[in-house]
Symmetry: C2
Subunit: 287 residues, 2 copies
């Protein structure tokens, strides 16, 4: 694995700043361009796949105390969430992954508190869970459009912090990523969707409406990151104007999370010599 | 894409034979060895990923008449089901895939008819669903161990055929694969799991017990394939003694299923010129 450690910008607990402090075009921790970045991604795929398999082997089926990883990916339209799923998450065994894309809530979901639909998707022991959007929509788009008032948003921050504390205490390592895109780059990416007929299905006129609320969104992100970057679940702002960089940074965050868990191949819970002898006896038969 | 079409052996409706007719070591439709096979797999990855994306673009969210693909993978222990998931299914966008591994039923599942736990996992429009084991366990292991009598097994065949007819009529293309392993090759693969400490977690002494029922399993497969290889959902016996072959054969079956659906990029449901003009207006702002 190369020496570079593309890291994004970790938001320290207690931070109360503005996301504009972070440059969407930067490549923190990585000294190189697109070609080197793409090589880096492929070079680390095997390490990620290996760690994922060890996590699965060591922890799946654990009744309690089992470990898992939850990657939460937030970002504006076209910030590259889908590319993270395809190129980073897609490199590991799909049997060990569960991706949930949180869309606008259904009528049934709306009749429950906002965390109701989230909890069933917290990854089981041994698994890597991925949220494409998440419970953070309830403090982002809801703040921007005034669907919840300031007091209710504060209640939700507290509920999120308590929820995330509880699941980290139970063995889930949470990696929270904001894919940080610039307004100009979003314009280019939306234009590409309009120019290419094979991308039209990804475009929705409402995307331009939402773009009109850009500064309100940046403000909502700043406030949400300030309120919910905790010691147990810190936010990482990942510059996303360069897709290749965002991918290697998220890959590295997953490698670190898994590396800290340091899952080991479990010891056999049977007598290997005895089972080898039993198996050998079956070789005389033709089945 | 290479000219070879690794096809496995399709079981014609009305067949009433014995799975021993099929050679687990054969490579039907493919003229080449391991090296060429591995190249073939990689060479076809892009086609599969492209067709999957088109399926998703064309059909996801369809209220009715939407198309999806269901790959059912059955096979004895060590037949390579996991490798199919990693190397064939794993090459497409994980956002368009849902894999379900059916284990021994829970207490709650046992209180329902055998299809009760299956139906929720039928893939939604636009998706590729994959079953790692399936409703066929209820006519395989259940027959072998006598957990269901002959009459009940017959009822289940009929229920399976009706279920599969109904879901194919609703737009699901079903690809049913038996990974066909030889008794000798299973012995080698189990031995490898015992020899390698990093494979011990995959071994269970019960695997040797089940191996003792090999011929009863082959008989159960023969009867199940005879009873449920239908025009709407035929079985394909895929020789699995060579892992590389089984992978390219299953990949090819998915390519064919998707190719028959022939999903097209959907036309824009908005005025492209109008939206382009709207978007261009936003470029003057700084966000």
């Amino acid at each position: 694995m190369p020496d570079d450690v593309p890291s994004g910008f970790t938001v320290p607990p207690g931070w109360a700043g503005d996301v504009h402090e972070f440059d969407p075009h930067a490549t923190p921790g990585f000294d190189g361009g697109k070609k080197k970045g793409e090589k880096h991604l492929l070079a680390c795929d095997d390490s990620l796949a290996d760690l994922q398999e060890r996590l699965f082997a060591a922890h799946h089926g654990a009744a309690s105390g089992g470990r898992s990883v939850l990657l939460v990916v937030q970002g504006m339209d076209t910030s590259g969430k889908g590319g993270i799923m395809r190129h980073v998450v897609g490199a590991v065994d799909p049997q060990g992954i569960s991706i949930t894309a949180f869309k606008a809530p259904t009528e049934e979901e709306k009749q429950h508190d906002f965390l109701w639909r989230i909890r069933p998707h917290v990854p089981a022991a041994g698994q890597i869970g991925v949220f494409d959007r998440s419970h953070y929509e309830d403090v982002l788009i809801h703040r921007v459009h005034g669907w919840a008032d300031a007091e209710e948003i504060e209640r939700r921050y507290a509920a999120i912090n308590a929820f995330e504390k509880e699941i980290t205490d139970s063995g889930v390592t949470i990696v929270k990523v904001m894919l940080h895109l610039s307004y100009a780059e979003q314009g280019e990416r939306l234009m590409e969707r309009l120019e290419r007929p094979d991308k039209h299905w990804k475009f929705n006129p409402g995307d331009i409406d939402e773009r009109g609320y850009w500064s309100a969104y940046m403000d909502a992100y700043s406030k949400a990151l300030s309120a919910t970057s905790t010691p147990h679940a810190p936010w990482v702002v990942v510059p996303a104007d360069r897709k290749w960089y965002a991918r290697i940074a998220v890959q590295q965050l997953l490698l670190q999370a898994l590396g800290e868990i340091d899952p080991q191949w479990p010891a056999a819970d049977f007598d290997v010599a005895e089972q080898t002898a039993r198996l050998r006896e079956t070789f005389a038969s033709q089945g």
